[in-house]
């Protein structure tokens, strides 16, 4: 109940500041461009292969849906810091955190409320791209199962990064600092993905497992791998757990 009160308050303030509109508009623009580019590429390739007499049907999922998902995941890496940076930093700066902490609320309901609000904004953002995906069904017949799995993957990845961002936001009073630090962490987790391409020794395989985007590939193919789901759920848990510890320690340091 209290969680919902906090979440509603957070969502309200997202949509009363330019943040929500900025994030959604930026996402719509970039994701829309990538969608347009991959559809154009797909159509051109289709015409070319027909002219060359090849009768192999081309797969929309492979040429449009999967690249789009991987693009969206990268755009999300950039936008997630903007969603989470103010969650706690702003409350610490203005002193309203004192109101929350001295109210009869559990720390858990404060944290869950804020994280769920961030997640809700993220879902609204993803929903914008669903419009483009839906248009594929008007002119073609893509397989809907990998599509749903892909969105599930993006959802889990976002939830995980948002929990890390929420944690980082508790560490500072300055939302810019929180945003930059979250962005750095997101970037690191993405870049780790690249190292696996050079080497397959134990260390690199561990680093590759930590990388956040590498777990998305299976979802894009329509495969729900327990290993990947467990990975995201553990990151969510670790992020929220650290947030709880940090909020608790705030009282010792304040």
């Amino acid at each position: 109940m209290n969680t919902i009160t906090i979440a509603r308050k957070e969502l309200n303030s997202y949509f009363r500041s330019p943040i929500a509109y900025g994030v959604i508009a930026f996402f719509a623009l970039i994701a829309g461009y990538f969608f347009y580019a991959s559809v154009v590429f797909f159509v051109r390739r289709g015409i070319e292969s027909t002219m060359m007499g090849q009768s192999m049907p081309m797969d929309v999922n492979e040429y449009v849906v999967r690249p789009l998902f991987s693009n969206i995941s990268v755009i999300a890496l950039f936008l997630i810091p903007m969603i989470t940076m103010r969650l706690f930093a702003e409350e610490k700066r203005t002193g309203t955190i004192e109101l929350l902490v001295t109210s009869p609320l559990s720390d858990l309901s404060i944290i869950m409320g804020k994280w769920l609000a961030a997640l809700a904004l993220y879902i609204v953002m993803l929903a914008v791209s669903a419009v483009s995906m839906a248009s594929l069904f008007l002119y073609g017949s893509p397989d809907w199962r990998p599509l749903l799995a892909g969105y599930l993957g993006l959802f889990l990845m976002g939830a995980a990064l948002l929990s890390i961002g929420t944690y980082i936001s508790t560490l500072t009073k300055n939302q810019i600092v929180a945003g930059v630090a979250t962005f750095a962490v997101c970037l690191m987790l993405w870049i780790l993905n690249w190292v696996t391409e050079f080497d397959t020794s134990m260390v690199y395989r561990v680093l590759g497992y930590i990388a956040i985007t590498s777990h998305l590939d299976s979802f894009g193919k329509g495969v729900l791998d327990l290993k990947d789901i467990v990975y995201y759920l553990s990151v969510i848990f670790i992020g929220l757990f650290l947030t709880a510890r940090s909020l608790e320690s705030l009282r010792w340091r304040a």
């Binding site: 209290n2 009160t5 906090i6 308050k9 309200n12 303030s13 009363r16 500041s17 203005t94 002193g95 309203t96 955190i97 004192e98 109101l99 929350l100 902490v101 001295t102 109210s103 009869p104 609320l105 009282r251 010792w252 304040a254």
Partner: protein, 345 residues
């Protein structure tokens, strides 16, 4: 209603609150007085369960702040030094939000919001964004927020800081009205002495994290009463300039006067601070002496029985006294012998 025993709060390097004990009974309004950095805010934060105490205990309405923080939080309304408001919310939305998180039942919410808006005189701005309100209004929204769940105990941290004189009077009246109904036990902190005299029944004075005194305003005053201090302004009656020495000697001859201190003389008027011997009334004698001397008596009033002097005497060390003087906005009338001040501790 509030019981603090041996409360100590230590930060990494310094002790903010050192072994403080006091009690506040139901319905009292208590002033928490001390220079900046004395530990007022820290003590209040312990009471509101924002900070855990390093040692000692604090109870609010019979519940321990460490053992049962939820019960304590339900019974406390807290206004931190800067009102904890969200600028992007409208006043009524904000009060509804606070009401919800403080556990006001949703069917009572609208009624409570209307009631506290009425009490704090903010009904006219209920649809305004808090970010657009003046500081005085924001402070009142902060107060409304603190009483929305009708708490037993109200803790106000410097409720008048940063307000203009008009707003200060309004805020004080508001606090007194809340206290008058006897529903709330109020602790308010301040470093402004007249504020305590104006609003509180009891004073708790702390300096450098230690409890210096706790008593009623009257008792504290009478405890230190004894010698009377009177300010006198004398002007010439016929244009001829006055000789300061002559006037001073004349005043010193009045029965019961222990000494006369000349203050800065402006234009042709002379100012003196006259102190009496223990328990003597010297004002009639002074008036008579001035008139008989053929001068005009422009001003004659008692000074130095205010909390300011008490405060200066109680905050023992020279450094504390200097700090206190800076806060009171007046220099000490005289150097207090440090041994007598030490006795008060």
């Amino acid at each position: 209603m509030i019981k603090v025993e041996g409360l100590t709060k230590r930060y990494a390097r310094k002790v903010a609150v050192d072994n403080i004990s006091f009690e506040v009974t139901k319905g009292q309004i208590v002033g928490f007085l001390g220079p900046n950095g004395a530990g007022k805010t820290t003590t209040m934060r312990v009471l509101t369960c924002f900070l855990p105490p390093t040692s000692g205990s604090a109870q609010v309405a019979g519940f321990d702040v460490v053992e049962q923080p939820m019960e304590v939080k339900k019974r406390i309304g807290y206004l931190p030094e800067s009102p904890p408001v969200y600028p992007e919310m409208e006043v009524h939305e904000y009060l509804e939000f606070v009401g919800r998180i403080k556990g006001v039942a949703s069917q009572d919410l609208a009624r409570r919001v209307a009631e506290v808006s009425e009490k704090c005189a903010i009904s006219d701005v209920s649809k305004t964004l808090i970010g657009k309100l003046s500081k005085g209004y924001r402070q009142r929204v902060g107060l409304a927020q603190a009483i929305i769940h009708n708490p037993d105990v109200l803790i106000l941290d410097e409720p008048t800081a940063g307000l203009d004189p008009h707003q200060i009077i309004e805020t004080r009246d508001l606090i007194k009205n809340l206290a008058a109904r006897g529903e709330h036990t109020i602790i308010l902190s301040t470093h402004i002495l007249p504020e305590v005299e104006a609003t509180c029944e009891r004073v708790i004075i702390i300096a450098r994290g230690r409890l210096v005194a706790t008593d009623t305003v009257e008792n504290l005053t009478s405890r230190l009463r004894g010698a009377e201090t009177v300010a006198v302004e004398v002007a010439p009656s016929n244009g001829a300039p006055l000789d300061a020495g002559t006037v001073q000697r004349r005043l010193e001859q009045v029965a019961g006067v222990s000494r006369v201190l000349p203050k800065e003389h402006r234009d042709d008027r002379l100012h003196f601070t006259v102190e009496s011997l223990e328990g003597r009334h010297i004002r009639p004698g002074l008036a008579k002496a001035v008139v008989e001397g053929g001068w005009h008596l422009n001003e004659l009033h008692g000074v130095g029985l205010s909390l300011e002097e008490i405060f200066l005497q109680l905050t023992a060390s020279p450094e504390d006294a200097r700090q206190a003087a800076a806060i009171a906005g007046t220099a000490p009338v005289e150097e207090k012998p440090s041994d007598s001040a030490g006795d008060q501790k």
